[in-house]
């Protein structure tokens, strides 16, 4: 257990550093893919060896700066494990997305991607609040360089905006963690097991809630803190957007579950309605804007914003169905975002643009790609038998317990979601063909990437029980902490 856990963090880190130092540009993507596949194997082994009914597992601990609460404690429970699996599943595909037409200097790109993965594993495996913070900030650094060097138009300014926005949330989070940590009786420990039981006065919780939540709200992002997101997602190279939307966004959800809900339950109770309303506003607003987009990549960015709004609302319903649904949906969303962005990237490669106006009638010339697009889209609008349907069903159940009206708003966003996705499909794939250039249909690599992702969506849509089993015990434990 200890070896597996440490290997998950260290393997991508060392491989990433090796790629950055040695720069074997020709072999870079193979090395990175191999590393990430091994990482997936390690994560699956971790999952196989874990009995979900047991509590959290501490796999490794070592002192770092114990006087200020920072200790290296790695371990996991069901929620962590889900996030680790999510990261491990998604990354091979993110690396694969650069297979056909790699960015310049592939060794650096893949090295940075692996470093990000390592930091993300660290985030999800850390069992100490400050260790979590270390990895949380650390994951930003490789992404900063990915965006800065390989981003599109306006990358210098947008990257800075993204970084500063996120770091602002990060430092207030650090402050909040320090404050919560110091409310514990001495001798203190910032390990989750101890920190979750901290008792803080209700009136303090009211402001501490925002201090702790701000960073995660920016990360997700929650309306109205989202202004960095569409620009960043659009400007970033496809692989960068996949990392941001597929995995890094989930750090926000995970952080709320780990810190906000257990540490400031009274604050959550006090602000719950505000957060849910803001999230739902964001959800509808983003869906509407997605509908009006002419750029497919931007459309995916806004649709991601819309989905995450629903997840955030369900999370703050703070009941079994809501939290389980939101966590379940993180996995579904990660897979969908990566698949959708892969398609966007594929279209960009073939057409040289992501403008919907330049598309149309593609189905006639690329029938297989169109079919794959259709399947991914079915997952995205959460038709029954897809993973999204399970997650949304649970989330609506959770929201319904709080108020039927909010469920109603949530359902409207789903309808809007179906509308903009179908509309996008219509504009890109159906209709009259624009130009008569020869377009290459989906090839082997496209299938290798999209088919497994679609398969996961459908398998977990039909048989979600393994994931739900994983979440059952920790969510119940969390709810006893809240109440």
């Amino acid at each position: 257990m200890m070896l597996l856990t440490l290997a998950l963090v260290l393997l991508p880190m060392l491989a990433g550093i090796a790629l950055l130092v040695a720069r074997p540009h020709a072999q870079a993507k193979s090395i990175a893919l191999l590393t990430s596949v091994i990482g997936l194997g390690l994560a699956v082994a971790l999952y196989a060896g874990y009995d979900a009914t047991n509590g959290p597992v501490i796999a490794f601990q070592h002192d770092w700066a114990p006087a200020i609460g920072l200790r290296m404690v790695f371990g996991f429970d069901g929620i962590s494990l889900l996030m680790v699996l999510l990261t491990a599943i998604v990354f091979p595909f993110i690396i694969g997305a650069g297979w056909k037409k790699p960015l310049s200097e592939p060794a650096l790109v893949n090295g940075l991607i692996l470093l990000t993965q390592s930091a993300l594993f660290g985030v999800f495996l850390a069992q100490n609040a400050f260790l979590f913070y270390v990895f949380y900030e650390l994951s930003l650094v490789p992404v900063f360089f990915l965006l800065l060097r390989w981003g599109g138009e306006g990358r210098r300014a947008i990257t800075m905006k993204f970084f500063i926005y996120t770091v602002l949330g990060g430092l207030t989070l650090l402050f909040g963690l320090v404050y919560s940590y110091l409310q514990l009786p001495a001798p203190r420990s910032a390990d989750f097991a101890a920190l979750q039981n901290v008792v803080i006065a209700p009136d303090v919780q009211r402001w501490l809630f925002w201090v702790l939540f701000l960073g995660f709200a920016i990360k997700m992002p929650m309306f109205p803190l989202h202004s960095w997101q569409p620009d960043t997602y659009t400007m970033a190279p496809i692989q960068g957007t996949m990392i941001l939307g597929g995995v890094m966004l989930k750090m926000g959800i995970y952080g709320v579950v780990r810190f906000v809900l257990p540490i400031v339950p009274a604050g959550v109770a006090h602000w719950r309605d505000v957060v849910i309303v803001l999230s739902l506003i964001g959800c509808l607003y983003a869906a509407w804007i997605a509908f009006r987009q002419n750029d497919l990549k931007r459309l995916v960015a806004w649709s991601s914003l819309s989905h995450v709004g629903l997840m955030c609302a369900a999370l703050f319903a703070a009941n079994t169905a809501g939290i389980t649904g939101a966590l379940y949906q993180t996995l579904a969303h990660a897979i969908l975002v990566v698949a959708l962005l892969y398609l966007v990237g594929g279209l960009q490669e073939r057409l040289g643009t992501t403008q919907l106006a330049a598309m149309g009638g593609l189905k006639a010339r690329m029938p297989r790609l169109a079919a794959l697009f259709l399947l991914v889209m079915i997952g995205s609008v959460a038709l029954p038998l897809t993973q999204g349907c399970v997650g949304e069903w649970l989330m609506f159940n959770g929201l319904f317990e709080v108020s039927p009206w909010w469920t109603f708003l949530g359902v409207i966003s789903i309808i809007l979601g179906a509308v903009y996705m179908l509309f996008a499909y219509q504009r890109s794939m159906l209709g009259e063909a624009h130009k008569n250039t020869d377009l290459v249909d989906a090839d082997g690599i496209d299938h290798w990437i999209l088919v497994p992702l679609i398969a996961v969506t459908f398998i977990l849509g039909v048989y979600p029980q393994p994931v739900l089993d994983l979440l059952h015990a920790p969510v119940e434990q969390l709810l006893t902490l809240i109440n």
């Binding site: 990895f135 650390l138 800065l148 430092l171 650090l174 402050f175």
Partner: protein, 456 residues
């Protein structure tokens, strides 16, 4: 004490060496002497009786500061062997004055009465007035030296007046007596004592470049020779903060409320002004000057937290800050040469392409200054936050956390330049000594973060 004696002798020896024609020997002799001084400070660690009728006393903290300052000066001497290789005249004086200034910094770590504090500050400062104007034929350098001297002596006058007033009220120069006096009259401090403490705060505030006594620092940082700027922003800062901590962190802990409020106001202002103005700087040395002011704010916060561990936090913070700063000034000098004397941050452009390892070290040092994990600068800031919150300064800490975001922004601007490609591709020339200094600083800034070696 033996270290202070050794340093004084070393300074004189260096000065005399300037008479002969052996410029190349200066740096090695200085390095040997500094290593000796560091070692002697370390050996003096065993509890010694107070020195000179209780004027000086050495403890673990003063030992740590002395060793670190000797180490940083040593790094600067290694850098100096290259920096001064193009200058012909007065090199020996420069080295000697640096050593004299360091002697003053040593005094500041272990003084036990106000006169020794004054002596330490003057011994630290007077060589710097000369050194800041060290490039005799440069208008800006002369301006820096003159400005520093004028404002410095003005602040010194306040400081001396403050000592006189405090002496008048407490009846002694001895810190313990003054501390007891302050504690006994904490409720209703005498007006003269208050004024005296304010004046002392002005003098020390000037030394650490706290707002509103900071106006000298950007101009002096900009005008002074780079190696002197590096010395001022590292060793001088360490020494001054050791002094501030000994004064109000160890001895006069029961500050009159008015003084304490004023000091907090100064801290908040320092954080605000330092960070805000640094945002707009694109001249590297001015950027470092304002960011140095911002760091002063964090350090003051640690002192004012009044925590028993504040001394350790200060030491860790100043040490990591100094390591990163020295390394960056060496990188800056290298880049400036390649850019024919330009000092804008754009001179960092293209570094990643031509010298990736240099860019990596620069990245680590900048991240450390910005306080991004897992570098040492992160642990330093985080420890300050813990100390301040632990002692109830919650809102100030939140404010400081937000200010740290601004800090990240302007350091990121430099990082962005470093990793932006440059079509012209200026050729950076790195020799062995500079590489060694940068390597020590870069590795130190990372290693102290990953493994704080019991310093935290």
């Amino acid at each position: 004490m033996s270290a202070i004696i050794l340093l004084s002798i070393l300074g004189v020896v260096l000065l005399y060496m300037g008479l002969g024609n052996n410029k190349r020997l200066l740096a090695p002799v200085g390095i040997l002497g500094l290593a000796g001084a560091g070692a002697l400070s370390f050996l003096d660690r065993r509890p010694l009786p107070a020195w000179g009728h209780g004027a000086m006393a050495f403890d673990d903290l003063s030992m740590a500061f002395c060793v670190a300052m000797a180490g940083i000066t040593l790094l600067l001497f290694v850098f100096g062997s290259d920096y001064y290789s193009r200058t012909q005249e007065n090199v020996a004086e420069h080295y000697a004055l640096l050593v004299f200034s360091l002697t003053g910094a040593f005094l500041l770590t272990s003084y036990q009465n106000l006169l020794m504090l004054f002596l330490g500050i003057e011994v630290l400062s007077i060589p710097l007035y000369i050194l800041a104007g060290g490039k005799k034929r440069s208008y800006r350098s002369s301006e820096a030296g003159f400005k520093y001297f004028l404002l410095g002596s003005f602040a010194t006058a306040f400081f001396l007046m403050g000592i006189a007033l405090v002496y008048g009220m407490a009846g002694s120069f001895d810190l313990k007596v003054i501390g007891d006096y302050a504690a006994a009259n904490a409720e209703h401090p005498a007006a003269l004592f208050l004024v005296g403490m304010f004046f002392i705060a002005v003098g020390l505030g000037f030394k650490v470049a706290a707002v509103p006594f900071h106006f000298w620092s950007p101009d002096v940082y900009e005008g002074a020779p780079t190696i002197i700027t590096a010395f001022m922003s590292t060793v001088v800062k360490m020494g001054s903060f050791a002094a501030v901590y000994r004064l109000i962190g160890v001895h006069i802990t029961a500050l009159p409320p008015a003084v304490e409020r004023t000091l907090w106001a100064i801290t908040i202002l320092t954080l605000l002004i330092g960070n805000l103005v640094a945002l707009r700087q694109s001249h590297f040395k001015r950027l470092m000057a304002y960011s140095s002011i911002a760091h002063t704010g964090f350090l003051l916060m640690a002192v004012l937290s009044g925590d028993a561990l504040a001394g350790r936090a200060l030491f860790y913070y100043t040490l990591t800050y100094a390591l990163a700063t020295v390394g960056l000034f060496v990188v800056f000098t290298v880049a400036k040469r390649a850019a024919n004397g330009d000092e804008h941050i754009r001179i960092f452009r293209g570094m990643f392409k031509s010298k990736p390892w240099l860019a990596a070290a620069t990245l680590i040092m900048l991240l450390s200054l910005a306080g991004i994990p897992p570098t040492a600068g992160f642990l330093a800031k985080y420890q300050v936050f813990v100390l301040a919150v632990q002692n109830g300064y919650v809102w100030s800490t939140l404010f400081a956390a937000v200010m740290a975001v601004l800090g990240i922004y302007y350091y990121l601007k430099v990082i962005r330049e470093t990793f932006t490609t440059n079509e012209e591709g200026a050729v950076l020339q790195l020799n062995a000594t500079n590489t060694a200094v940068i390597a020590v600083c870069g590795v130190g800034a990372l290693l102290l973060g990953l493994w704080p070696m019991g310093l935290i």
